[in-house]
Amino acid sequence: MSHAQTVSIVLIEDDDGHATLVERNLRRAGISNGFVRFRDGQQALDYFFGPACADAPRDTDGNPFPPRETLENLVVLLDLKMPRVDGFEVLRRLKEAPETAAVPVIVLTTTDDPREIARCYELGCNVYICKPVEYDVFIEAVRRLGFFLQVVKLPPGHRLAPS
């Protein structure tokens, strides 16, 4: 589990309920990785590409986000429909920039529109999971996601280069 310990999950989701459900079910499925959550695409972009300012960005509880350099291994869970900057834009920027292109991105959204799925894959998303409304199926999806997160192997020594 050494790898799993180092893998942090970045959840970009505007709906608090969804974020809570995703985190709880991942935890219940036995995943204990670190969680970072952004409420919209703009926050996420600021975190990944913004200037390294003195006071690190904080989450709602006031806890400071872990610095970018410590997140050697990242997995991004990305919602598509968000205010300000949507998931497509975040995905595009992440896959565009060479330093973040290798970060696995799992699109987790309510949309099952084939065109949007196709667009996500075109933009370079690694996995697309449709948030099922039926809870059991959702848990199964998240479990599979957790399993995926546990087995994911990232190249050692890969660091997110400072901008």
């Binding site: 309920g17 459900l21 709880r24 429909k81 409304v133 039926e134 809870y135 959702f138």
Partner: protein, 536 residues
């Protein structure tokens, strides 16, 4: 004037003139003939007058001889006198028209009569041997006195007759000349008259007929007609009719053009309204899509957290069981947890599941209208085979017999076509009558004749899915293609949107769908799809 009258005039006027000319000719001819007769007459007079003198002279000679010889037999020749009398009578008839000459003839007769009496007296004297002396005195001259008188009269008569003869000959020559002139005038006049008639005919009928013919030709070729013909005959009447017809034609043309313009305007309007409707339908579908999509997000929370509550209830159960609470309190807590809370959660979760399926149905409907089609030639036969294969489980479970006939290809989106037949065949399976062996038949109708004159007409194929299932009551036939209409709610689950999706999909293909059904006997769904690319 009527053509008949004109024709009559054209014949009558020259004929009258001809007749007049003929009359003149005949008149001059008659005059000439009379003149000729006169000439002939006078010649005869001359002849007779010259012939009459000789017998008289011979008689006078005989009388003298008789007187000399005393032989009376020389005088007694009555024939001479009869001959003379005849000749005088002939002359008398010949000169009856000229009283002067008649008078002369009369004088001559008297003279002869006197001489005859004298000669009779002489003869008597000779017979009776009387003295001839009283008569001798009378015979002393070269000619007896009466004969001399006769001769003088005859000479005067002859002179007058010659004069008349010359006069009449001249008159005859003049008449002959005038007759010639009259003939020439008649011939020339009739030629002129007929020429004039021909000109009048050409001007008043021939040329007008030409104009009429040209007008008719112009009318036929749609050109402007010449000015209306004047006059009041049948030709101008016909021309007036032609002009009326032209006016009517122009009117009709103008009307037609106006109607055409109107029709085009209407067509444009209709196209605009159609576009608007299509746009509106799309907007509606977009609206349904975004609303149902937005509703999904809270539903995820509702369902997720009701499950969380369920999990919490389980945990509470465990805590309550292990807490060792007093029996009464534990029972009350269990009652609340198992009864009220779990019951509430159950209803909550079924409601959420129902809402979720409705939203899913809405999404499916809106997607049927929004999905981008990959237009291509679709083998309907293979598509139906795939659908039947996918439904094989349900088919064998219901022990239904599915017959697939020859299915011609269609033009459309393969996935959409598959969805159409999937829905129809799935419906047919779902609503089979359990009381009898299910039979489902998929086929295509004969190709309908296409109006070849309409170049934009697209050949359409009509497919059908026929079953011997429960059938649809007539009252519900109009509703089957509407969304959320569920007729046999107890027989099959679903939101009742399958046929609505089929209709929307078929309409997007430019086709149509309808159903014929008899309750208790089965239903036949007809689907019309284009066979060639269609311009929507």
């Amino acid at each position: 004037m009527k053509l008949f009258t004109k024709g009559l005039l054209l014949i009558a006027v020259p004929s009258v003139v001809e007749l007049a000319l003929l009359g003149i000719v005949f008149d001059t001819q008659e005059q000439t003939a009379q003149a000729a007769q006169w000439v002939d007459n006078s010649k005869q007079i001359l002849y007779q007058s010259s012939a009459i003198v000789d017998p008289l002279l011979r008689q006078a000679a005989r009388v003298r001889t008789a007187m000399v010889t005393g032989d009376a037999s020389l005088i007694d020749r009555r024939a001479v006198w009869v001959d003379l009398s005849d000749r005088l009578a002939k002359l008398d008839t010949l000169v009856a028209d000229t009283p002067q000459q008649a008078g002369r003839v009369h004088n001559m007769r008297r003279a002869i009569d006197a001489y005859r009496e004298q000669s009779v007296a002489i003869s008597q004297a000779l017979h009776e041997r009387h003295s001839l002396s009283p008569y001798l005195a009378l015979e002393t001259g070269p000619l007896p006195q009466q004969v001399a008188v006769f001769r003088d009269e005859l000479a005067a008569f002859g002179a007058e007759a010659s004069r008349l003869d010359i006069e009449r000959s001249i008159a005859l020559a003049q008449r002959r000349e005038s007759q010639q002139y009259a003939l020439i005038a008649a011939v020339l006049g009739s030629m002129l008259i007929w020429a004039a008639t021909a000109i009048v005919f050409a001007r008043s009928i021939g040329r007008r007929l030409e104009v009429l013919t040209e007008n008719a030709e112009r009318l036929g070729s749609g050109r402007q007609l010449a000015a209306p013909l004047s006059g009041s005959d049948e030709i101008s009447a016909l021309d007036a009719v032609l002009h009326q017809t032209e006016a009517r034609l122009r009117e009709a043309e103008a009307e037609q053009a106006a109607l055409k313009a109107q029709l085009e305007a209407r067509a444009h309007e209709l196209a605009a309204v159609n576009d608007e409707l299509r746009q509106e339908t799309q907007d509606n579908e977009m609206f349904i899509y975004s609303v149902s999509h937005d509703l999904r997000s809270p539903l995820v929370n509702l369902q997720g957290f009701s499950k969380e509550l369920h999990v919490s209830c389980d945990e509470l159960d465990g805590i309550v069981a292990s807490a060792g609470l007093p029996a009464g309190e534990e029972r009350r807590m269990k009652h609340i947890l198992d009864g009220d809370v779990r019951e509430s959660l159950y209803y909550l979760r079924t409601a959420v599941a129902r809402a979720a399926s409705i939203i899913d149905a809405l999404l499916r409907i809106s997607r049927a209208g929004r999905l981008e089609y990959q237009w291509q030639r679709v083998s309907v036969g293979r598509t139906v085979d795939r659908v039947v294969e996918a439904l094989q489980g349900a088919i064998s479970q219901r022990e239904a017999v599915v017959t697939v006939r020859d299915l011609p290809p269609a033009w459309g989106d393969p996935a959409a076509v598959e969805q159409i037949f999937g829905n129809l065949i799935g419906n047919a399976l779902n609503f089979l009558d359990p009381a009898r062996r299910g039979r489902i038949e998929i086929g295509a109708l004969e190709l309908e004749p296409v109006d070849a004159s309409e170049p934009r007409a697209v050949r359409m194929r009509t497919y059908y899915v026929r079953d011997n299932g429960l059938g649809i009551p007539a009252a519900y036939l109009s509703k089957v293609f509407r969304a959320f209409q569920r007729l046999h709610g107890d027989v099959a689950s679903g939101e009742g949107i399958g046929l609505a999706v089929v209709r929307r999909t078929v309409e997007r293909h430019g086709g149509s769908v309808w159903v014929e059904s008899a309750e208790g006997a089965g239903s036949t769904f007809f689907v019309v799809l284009p066979e060639q690319p269609i311009r929507l």
